[in-house]
């Protein structure tokens, strides 16, 4: 969700897209679009459309580097304020420039999670992308506390129940367009009933 008059903000929900089709965030949700697993030309095309993405998984864009030039291009020319990356330095630089840098943290087992966090810059504005996101429901309190926030839970969140549970623990989640539509419909239904 763009914040034209202030620093960027992480919406509660990022809807995953490969950029090849228009994805509109349902207006009833605090949601934006994350472009991932795409190529540079598609990313540029989508950023210039009337539904530009709020976030990009920069390492998953074919043709795009993971250096300062790429960061300038994405956050400046394409005006995408939220950058997901596996590179701690890049996440730190994104945050230092007033954007939100989110570093991938891999949570396949407890030892791996600890090792993944060793490289985290832990600087202001740098949060974490916990992969797979659904596992956040199984982390101990001390493990959760060790993960720099904001936390974006990304991966295998596939049902309304899982989405709600993950949102209670993480700051934001990544979901597919179909699940976003279900969440929005449920919200509207609850509003009509209430």
């Amino acid at each position: 969700m763009p914040e034209p008059n202030g620093p960027p903000r992480l919406p509660s929900i990022l809807i995953a897209s490969d950029g090849h089709h228009t994805v509109n965030a349902p207006p009833d949700l605090d949601a934006g679009v994350l472009v991932r697993d795409t190529d540079l030309a598609t990313l540029v095309h989508r950023a210039a459309s009337d539904c530009p993405p709020q976030a990009v998984d920069i390492d998953s864009v074919a043709g795009l580097g993971s250096d300062d030039y790429a960061l300038d291009f994405v956050t400046g020319r394409l005006a995408i304020p939220i950058v997901l990356t596996r590179r701690p330095q890049l996440a730190g630089r994104a945050a230092a420039r007033g954007n939100i840098g989110l570093l991938h943290v891999f949570a396949y087992d407890s030892t791996g999670l600890r090792r993944s966090l060793e490289g985290h810059p832990r600087s202001a504005g740098v949060g974490s992308v916990v992969t797979p996101g659904l596992v956040i429901l199984h982390l101990r309190e001390d493990e959760l506390a060790a993960i720099p926030r904001p936390i974006l839970a990304y991966g295998l969140i596939d049902t309304v129940e899982d989405a709600r549970a993950c949102l209670a623990v993480a700051d934001a989640i990544v979901i597919r367009p179909g699940l976003a539509a279900k969440l929005a419909a449920e919200l509207v239904g609850a509003g009509a009933r209430g």
Binding site: A16, D37, F106, A107, Y108, D109, S110, T111, G112, T131, P132, L134, V135, H138, L139, Y154, G155, L156, D158, D162, R176
Partner: protein, 196 residues
């Protein structure tokens, strides 16, 4: 006389009989694992260049040993390191590199292909890779999610192990109910607690 690891079928039988396997990081936890009823010890870290004495200790305790070739120190995950592990007397080798599975089997060891659950959109690719690599066992991480994602995955032709964030008996039961052969866990309280 050099050590001959058991057939994969025997390895699988041992796990099936006592499905909570011990996952340790090098020598840390080894004594507890040796004293437990866990049938197989999974070595996920440590020095891959000085494994032979540990392997002998594990065999002396009538247990089998599986080593993660991608994660132990001192080794590069390639055919030569697989041969090195065979020479050290290892019974099974775990790797995320599907191309190593034939070399592991050729070395007479049980080949375990580790599958990392990342995103639903990547599951098909990962499952295809497993189909090509033809391991003896698939290990899924994080295993605690297996009950949640089992419906998204096709059935594998080989047994499935689940590891990662498995900490309670309830989680073990859910994973076994989802069709897994066994679990690998660093939670010592669970080691060997589910004897058939």
């Amino acid at each position: 006389m050099s050590y001959a690891p058991p057939d994969a079928a025997v390895f699988i039988e041992r796990v099936a009989a006592d499905p909570c396997c011990a996952a340790i990081t090098g020598e840390e936890g080894l004594d507890e694992a040796l004293e437990s009823r866990a049938p197989v010890i999974f070595m996920l870290r440590g020095n891959g260049l000085s494994l032979a004495p540990l392997v002998r200790q594990i065999h002396a305790a009538d247990k089998l040993v599986a080593v993660h070739v991608d994660l132990v120190g001192g080794l590069r995950a390639d055919r030569a390191s697989v041969e090195w592990l065979a020479g050290a007397g290892v019974d099974a080798v775990i790797s995320s590199h599907g191309q190593l599975m034939p070399a592991i089997r050729h070395g007479g060891m049980t080949a375990i292909h580790r599958l990392l659950l990342v995103r639903r959109s990547q599951l098909d690719t990962a499952v295809s890779a497993i189909g090509r690599s033809a391991p003896n066992i698939v290990e899924i991480l994080p295993g605690v999610l297996l009950p949640s994602v089992v419906g998204m995955m096709p059935r594998f032709d080989v047994p499935v192990l689940a590891g990662g964030f498995v900490r309670t008996e309830a989680e073990v039961h859910a994973i076994l109910s989802a069709g897994a052969l066994g679990v690998t866990t660093s939670s010592q309280a669970l080691w060997g607690t589910m004897s058939a």
